[in-house]
Subunit: 182 residues, 2 copies
């Protein structure tokens, strides 16, 4: 399990609430590891019990109070320990790809429109990441190497996907031109 380690990594840079972490998981890191807020609150609870994180209670006006979590020495030690041992292989669950593999039975039009939807999302992400990369590049490239590399991965990933999407569109459109009778 390394949801816990993903959380520790995020807390390494800055104090954050469970809510903040959930947002980060939905954006940048989300490409690489995802988690819902319930999962995060649960894990923060466990980490806190095990003294790997501590929190301070921050009352707010208008908004609900928040708990700002930060790493303890034990948490940092755990992170360091984990960083040393080899990571398991990456796992993915890409339902759309399963669909393409089973495409013979699928409605080409449905696949094409879904492809468009996904491509749009990817293009938006790509823009976000490119903007982020530029900002990181301007403001001190050496301190932010790790963040920069993470974002670069996101960029290359989106581009590869979009390129593939072009190939798919080409093949499918060619294919649907054959069978305009259906």
């Amino acid at each position: 399990m390394s949801l816990r380690h993903a959380i520790l990594v995020l807390l390494q840079d800055q104090e954050a609430s469970g809510y903040d972490l959930a947002r980060e998981f939905a954006n940048s890191i989300g490409l690489v590891w995802n988690a819902t807020h319930q999962q995060i609150y649960l894990e923060l609870g466990k980490l806190s019990e095990q003294d790997m994180v501590r929190y301070r209670h921050v009352p707010q006006e208008g908004k609900p109070d928040k708990k700002l979590y930060s790493l303890t020495d034990a948490g940092r030690a755990e992170l360091v320990r984990w960083l040393k041992k080899p990571a398991g292989p990456a796992r993915i669950r890409d339902a759309f790809m399963v669909k393409v593999a089973g495409g013979a039975l699928a409605d080409t039009q449905v696949l094409l429109s879904e492809l468009d939807t996904l491509a749009k999302q990817r293009r938006e992400r790509l823009a976000t990441f490119e903007a982020l990369a530029q900002r990181l590049d301007e403001s001190g490239r050496d301190e932010n190497v790790y963040n920069y590399l993470t974002v670069r991965r996101g960029i290359l990933d989106q581009r590869a996907w979009l390129q593939w999407a072009e190939e798919v569109r080409h093949s499918l459109e060619h294919r649907s031109a054959d069978s305009t009778a259906s």
Copy 2:
């Protein structure tokens, strides 16, 4: 849940045993969806109860008997139904990426050697996929569009990862040159 649909897609082309499916999940489709044999046997059991697959018992000599599964009409209908509704977003769990993001605390040498290990695996996969793509391209490109596209995704994915790995190596080597004192 669409492990079930991934299985249905695989059975669409050919009869297979649980063991066969597990192998396919470990290879080609594994890039896109993964599952262990226990999960597959369990799901095949459920699919069989729901009459979406049937099996014939094949006794073998020397080796244990096997059950060869194939799609029923109900199974094919379920696949078609699923293919029509939009797929959820792709999910990934890439532990190595989490490590890079938390790289400030990591030992650069450890990261670099892990990068090498992963790069080697990716290069092997890339070679496998490229060989497969060529074979598909030669033997009738139109019948195999869907398989071909799936393999293309694998190829583009490996290339993007390897390109990223080059950037990471560059950054990390540069970085470790600074602090040869450690």
